[in-house]
Symmetry: C2
Subunit: 489 residues, 2 copies
């Protein structure tokens, strides 16, 4: 196999790589997309977002989670949900997504080369394919090789009952029955999402993290609501505690010894403590790319690495490592690489698919306090709107954060059913520079969860006192007093 | 009981009356709220929106409707859903809503007088209470007395198996088992919502209307999708057909003879053909109020009746007769009555809780065609986004309508899971005068149904040709070609 010449090599076909490749082709560039798996999609499609969110949806239904408060716990659809029940739907969605992605890439004109990529020099990449090794000379490179779960040397992974979050969806992995108990090490987003899912299935879940505070980027009030709900679902939290060793006894139970000597005995252990850049075979050194802690690549605001013509996007550059954000990074990096101006998008949403789900956009109280911005908040509780009652979500909470001086919306934080969808209403208002008056004046469908915005805005105006700057006319001022009712309807 | 004097009498405590009364109290007025039922809430809480939407949610769950496409029809939570299962949750939500409403009204300082109201003269209203008849002298009146189901004289209602939509939720009504078959007469919003609900429960539903076209205010493409789905759920539609007579045979089956002589034989008949103003006891004539067709009251843009100091709001003034809109009418009417300026809200959403649900905001293609506005559309299908696949909604459709000249958003029409919530994203963008570029540039949580907006916007830009007016920079222009993929991810 000879030397091929292209204008852009993209390494990795997850959301970031896909969008980078497509954007470059649209710019008229010759693009080669290198993917070490047999099929496209990256971690997102194979072991990350897609399978885990599908699993979550299947669990929500089969366990009757959403209806427990309405009909009691006895109403589960299947009394004994098996892993097979769950994985069936996952496989179905994953194959569909692979097909869709593949179709989109090839139709756009992206050349997909299946094989493991490694740098030979800054402008030359080799790909080890089934047919042999190919060499590709390229003008630019976008590295979107993603991450894989970090595996602590203190954990004797066996892929039977000591797993990482990739193993769960591995085709070779079988779970003949759901474990009675499970220790999850790592209370990051991924570990916590799994903790919620397995506890909804009735597994006795323990969640351990050596850090004392979970989710530092999430509003503390929202986080408290999550923790409350998790405890209510009988998740045991061991925060601020590290483990010393993990052993398997003769009955295949996992014995995890904590620092303080306490032994946690569970049927299964899921290790979910960080991810490392999938840079092992990349030979980033031969390109001159600086690789940081845990194999992550540092980039500047334009996603440029330490090498001028090489960019990196997606999970490999670290936080937030979300599919949604990665896509945008990929698109922007391709534009930057070829000198096309891109306006940077400001109001990135964050979605965390815990149970209940969490979503946020804009700033947190902590950030505003640190910046010295005078802000006020407004709270809307699902239990005070008809739809919350109808669907049985009595714990949902929507929090608006706005400028105390002009009521301009600065952040929205939601926990509860539909949070990841509802956040986009607030995101739109923020993007247009709107104030919380928008929500007071708007007529919402009844009954909807979206009404929580109105409730929160009325609550916020009440906290402000009714007429900041005399800007509002009497009508709204009057309405603002309406916030003295905790309830809207 | 003597004569009491107030500044405002509100007749009826449904959503419109509640908000009118609250608004007037906030304006410092002395308000009497007259309600002929024992408890507040009106049709909305007792036999309308709240019970029917709760019933719908219960049906969606207990029938396993949402998961059929994922797990097959065998997965229903309860094999034999009884009416009692369903009504249990309805009663729970209804009592809660009554409590909340009552609490809010009394806490605000609204005096609630339970009793039947009738005019004595334009400024004097009598109320027949349990304690006798009271007379109330008032400066202003807001009539929010609502409607009751119209009962055709050709239908022998028996409240056993020939019902109207109020009977269904009557405390005296018992349905020992779900009927095998049901004819619904009237394919308006209410009749169609019930047709969807009962067919989801496995009832053989026939829906009859003498009008040939359903839902003329709904986008035809969205309506077609609904009709397709309804037929798929085995609803039989008899449109453009009137009935001649309804009889009950010796086995208590309902024999409905259509105009053309055909006889439709069903176990039950639900009559849902229009509603009439609940003005029977009102003696509107003594106030000088002109009452129109089917007892509805005509009002001007300020909700004023033919009498200067008397206003009417809510279902009694006709279309759209939605709780959300009625609340806003109530609030506005109270302001108008006391000369307080109110800005009129423009972008009312419409929510129709069929299965799947429908929501819309802004204009339709029909309206724009008639107005001669050059417009273009963009379509986003749920089956092309990951979340659609995950939840198994393969038929959802989001349609953007925008100005062909500047891509300004003019309307959003959605059918599918979450439509009534998702519409509020488009509503916000419309309210700020945004273009569909907003959706192209925005990062959405992944996976969400909200992504259908992006998909639809890309599709719309593609239809436009990529650079209308050179207004967009290259980056977006390029993205617009991305719309050549039917799929986003």
């Amino acid at each position: 196999m000879g030397v091929q010449s292209v204008e852009l090599v993209v390494i990795g076909s997850g959301p970031a790589g896909q969008k980078a490749a497509i954007q470059a082709v649209k710019l008229g560039k010759k693009v080669a997309l290198l993917e070490k798996r047999k099929v496209v999609g990256g971690v997102c499609t194979h072991t990350g977002t897609i399978p885990s969110k599908t699993l979550r949806e299947a669990i929500m239904y089969l366990s009757g989670y959403r209806q427990r408060s309405l009909y009691g716990r006895g109403y589960a659809v299947k009394k004994n949900v098996t892993y097979e029940d769950l994985i069936l739907q996952v496989n179905h969605v994953v194959s569909h997504e692979i097909e869709v992605t593949n179709d989109q890439l090839t139709r756009t004109g992206v050349e997909i080369i299946p094989g493991t990529a490694s740098f030979i020099d800054p402008h030359m990449v080799s790909v080890e394919t089934d047919q042999g090794v190919a060499q590709i000379k390229t003008e630019k490179v976008i590295v979107a090789c993603g991450t894989s779960p970090y595996r602590s040397p203190r954990v004797p992974f066996n892929n039977i009952n000591i797993l990482d979050t990739d193993t769960i969806f591995s085709p070779n992995f079988k779970m003949n029955r759901l474990p009675k108990s499970m220790l999850i090490i790592g209370a990051g987003v991924i570990g916590t999402e799994y903790a919620c899912m397995f506890s909804a299935l009735g597994v006795d879940v323990r969640l351990l993290d050596r850090r004392a505070d979970m989710f530092r980027f999430v509003d503390p009030e929202i986080l408290e609501a999550l923790v409350y709900q998790m405890r209510n679902e009988r998740v045991t939290l061991y925060l601020g505690k590290d483990f010393e060793k993990v052993e398997v006894d003769e009955e295949m139970n996992v014995q995890t010894t904590l620092e303080n000597g306490r032994v946690v005995n569970t049927e299964m252990l899921l290790f979910s403590s960080g991810r490392t850049g999938a840079t092992d075979e990349l030979r980033a050194d031969l390109a001159g790319i600086e690789v940081g802690n845990r194999g992550l690549i540092k980039v500047d605001a334009q996603f440029k690495t330490s090498v001028d013509h090489i960019y990196a996007v997606g999970d490999i550059i670290g936080f937030p490592a979300l599919a949604s954000t990665s896509m945008e990074q990929g698109r922007c990096a391709a534009c930057h690489a070829f000198g096309i101006p891109v306006s940077s998008f400001k109001h990135y949403p964050y979605g965390i698919y815990t149970i209940p789900e969490i979503s946020m956009v804009g700033q947190t109280e902590r950030e505003l306090s640190e910046a010295g911005t005078p802000y006020e908040i407004g709270l809307g509780r699902y239990r005070e709107i008809a739809k919350g009652k109808i669907i049985g979500d009595s714990t949902g909470l929507l929090k608006l954060i706005f400028d105390q001086r002009d009521a301009k919306l600065l952040g929205v934080h939601i926990i509860g059913e539909g949070a990841t969808e509802l956040i986009h209403i607030g995101q739109a208002v923020m993007s247009f520079g709107g104030t919380i008056d928008y929500f007071v004046e708007t007529v919402f469908n009844y009954p909807t969860l979206a009404e929580a915005y109105k409730l929160a805005a009325l609550n916020g105006l009440k906290r402000l006192g009714w007429t900041p700057g005399g800007r509002r006319d009497l009508e709204i001022a009057i309405n603002s007093e309406g916030a003295s009712e905790e309830v809207l309807e």
